[in-house]
Symmetry: C2
Subunit: 441 residues, 2 copies
């Protein structure tokens, strides 16, 4: 059984919504779990225990990415400064029609390399060719909830195929892989198809990861076509009986919010995407006040440029203060709670998101040696507003060290870079008439 101790680091925690820092502590890891956190006592570990020097480092839980399309890092920068409809129909959907399983494999490697470098240890991913993504999750050492995205126009046969993926990978990689169903959205999957999805999810006893109520236009179109909001469609189809990740969900009605609160559903939000796409933002108190789990998401890099939850955390804090014109909103403790525990709640993973004995050993060490991290007058403020993905030094997931001194230990980045770059010219082709789906206008 593996075991090691991280010596003499600062440990971030929360008491309710109050940030709490223990300075100069040791974190003891036994197998894939945290065994103890104790004040540093040099030499206490004895000569046989492996040590990681944490001096000067801040230990935080691995970040939890509640909604991503990881392999889209392949298309980073492919569609800039364009509105959402054009972004989908003229750039992304045509380009995605070029993807092969092997492309997705290399994209997943690059995206997971980026997430590990950014201190993310858990991702709820929603994409195509998910066997390839699962393979990379397995070999990279990350933790993931994987959903194979499916559109209604692909038919029930395709849905069935994705259930084979689910049974192949559920609980694999020492339990690091969870698999859910991934119908794309109520605007690209109608009520009947969603109803079938809900049945399948119930039979397999799994959850559903789906886009919903992303824009007001989507809500208006849904009302016009079905006389129901997207959330009401999900309710009536039975989807919300299942554990559900609602991606984005910026435009639920008050009634929708109550529906979500009454069901095992949570919301994953990626403010960077919403700003970039001009999609608008929602006051997060509306979710919080009803007890709806709320977590951070990166979305795909084609829309948010980076898979960086430190950036998303900071943007959520900044934009909430902005849209409410009140500096007191989105306090340090509230935003840190969303980033760590909120993510775990959205993904229904009660054993991650916290550095405490008994929790899974998903631990990140941040350097605090840039001048921007000094002085350490208010470590919670430094964590939210000054530190970032580039300060991540060491990443541990499930008790395994995935990065040390910024060097990735499970991914050959040079090889990934080369493989991705030689695919680019083909991937960004836009062949007239070819696209994976059509975003309705």
């Amino acid at each position: 059984m593996r075991g090691f101790v991280i010596k003499n680091c600062d440990v971030f925690g929360l008491k309710g919504e109050q940030p709490e820092f223990r300075f100069g502590h040791d974190i003891w890891v036994d197998g894939n779990r945290i065994k103890a956190i104790t004040p540093t006592n040099p030499g206490q570990e004895g000569p046989d225990v492996e040590q990681i020097d944490g001096a000067g480092m801040l230990a935080v839980p691995g970040m939890i990415n509640t909604h991503a399309h990881v392999p889209m890092v392949l298309l980073r920068g492919a569609a800039e400064d364009v509105p959402l409809t054009e972004w989908f129909n003229d750039y992304i959907f045509p380009m995605e029609s070029n993807l092969t399983p092997e492309d997705v494999y290399w994209g997943a490697l690059l995206g997971i390399a980026e997430m590990i470098e950014a201190g993310i240890t858990y991702v709820a991913d929603h994409y195509f060719f998910m066997d390839q993504v699962a393979e990379v999750v397995q070999t990279s050492g990350m933790r993931a909830n994987l959903a194979w995205a499916v559109f209604e126009h692909e038919g029930v046969e395709k849905l069935k195929e994705t259930t084979h993926f689910i049974t192949r990978w559920q609980g694999k990689a020492n339990g690091r892989i969870t698999t859910w169903l991934g119908p794309h959205s109520p605007y690209l999957c109608g009520p009947e198809f969603l109803h079938t999805c809900a049945h399948v999810a119930k039979d397999l006893d799994i959850g559903v990861h789906i886009h919903a109520a992303e824009t007001q236009e989507q809500v208006d179109a849904s009302l016009a076509q079905y006389q129901k909001t997207p959330i009401r469609l999900l309710l009536d189809a039975g989807i919300l009986e299942r554990p559900t990740i609602l991606a984005h969900c910026l435009y639920p009605t008050d009634e929708d919010l109550q529906v979500i609160a009454d069901h095992p559903a949570g919301v994953g939000q990626a403010p960077k995407t919403y700003l970039r796409a001009g999609m608008g933002l929602r006051d997060i108190e509306q979710y919080q006040a009803r007890g709806i789990p709320l977590g951070l998401a990166t979305d795909g890099a084609a829309s948010s440029s980076t898979l960086d939850l430190y950036e998303q955390m900071r943007l959520m804090a900044l934009t909430q203060k902005f849209i409410q014109a009140d500096a007191r909103k989105a306090s340090l403790g509230e935003i840190l709670r969303i980033a760590f525990l909120g993510g775990a709640e959205v993904c229904r993973e009660p054993e991650v998101g916290k550095l405490e004995p008994g929790y899974l050993a998903d631990i990140v060490l941040l350097r605090q040696d840039r001048a921007a991290s000094m002085p350490r007058l208010n470590p919670a403020a430094n964590l939210v507003y000054a530190l970032g993905a580039a300060d991540v030094d060491t990443v541990i997931c499930d008790g395994q060290v995935l990065m040390r001194g910024r060097k990735l230990l499970t991914i050959n980045k040079a090889e990934v870079k080369q493989e991705v770059e030689r695919r680019l010219a083909r991937l960004v082709q836009r062949v007239p008439g070819r696209k994976v789906a059509v975003y309705p206008t």
Copy 2:
């Protein structure tokens, strides 16, 4: 005469508002200027020329910080989640009354260390005890425009003192130091005092750096008290006849904008501060359409947490798309133009902000080896939305290397950290009744 060549880097430039990248080029530096930029030709430099290996790096101009309070890094994290009035009157103004010249010296060292680490080579600083700041600018190798902040309640005697600072330092440090006048703002300096400032600035043939029209409340209060907007007060006092940096200036009226456009004034903006303080934002097209110079600013770290213009650049782009609900706004080229050339225009420094022969050698090399920088499909998008301060590897200012491989060469950071930390407890004291000024409510 010093000379060296940066070998085989990628060079960022702009053709109008079109980003332009030259891959695999050499940048030749002679003394404090760029001599040539040529396609890489290994060995061409001969054995006697010092080389900096730029392979894999992106060369950009040093960033230009158009408005800062550098030593406020001492108070990073001291006032979080509080509205502007409370922030000033209950936290910052009381704490600033504790500052000694020696505190400011160490604060300037920490702040300039942070800026160099973040690829900033020019700062327009506005603070107290500016002799200490000037000394640090001199020894650190940075370039700066320095203004000693003065309030009307300190009297004309104090203003005169600051002019002595100006004559002591104008043009010093091989011309790297420029000094301007720094009346705080029209809300803490009345019309007569401003009039005196304008006279003094004219006599000394220098510019003025001043806060103006930061909030709608300020504008309303000015109209109530003087029947004039803050910008009109500056005009009538003669300030705008001088080269002027207007800090923030979020709430000019249409008439004000025309006044600014008709004078040698520019605007420095720090979106991170505005978001955090819930101050609102302004559509930047309103400045751009009138040809008003617009640059990026960090403001002080007590309000923006970091002295990081990459972050401010990204926030400006994101928030402009957001407030106009249009992803086409604040295009890559437009935002990059503001970040580099816009900053130079605001500070009236025509020899910086561009990597071209004849320009001053203020050059920054960014690493492109994080997974977040891959692939290099759209280098302008990577620069705005994926790269950041933590990717800065090498910083050159006035032909001198200030940082190499992320190691600061002119500042002892460990010593600065220690000196700053031992001052903290005293600095954050709030002695009843003691504050440098009172923010009017």
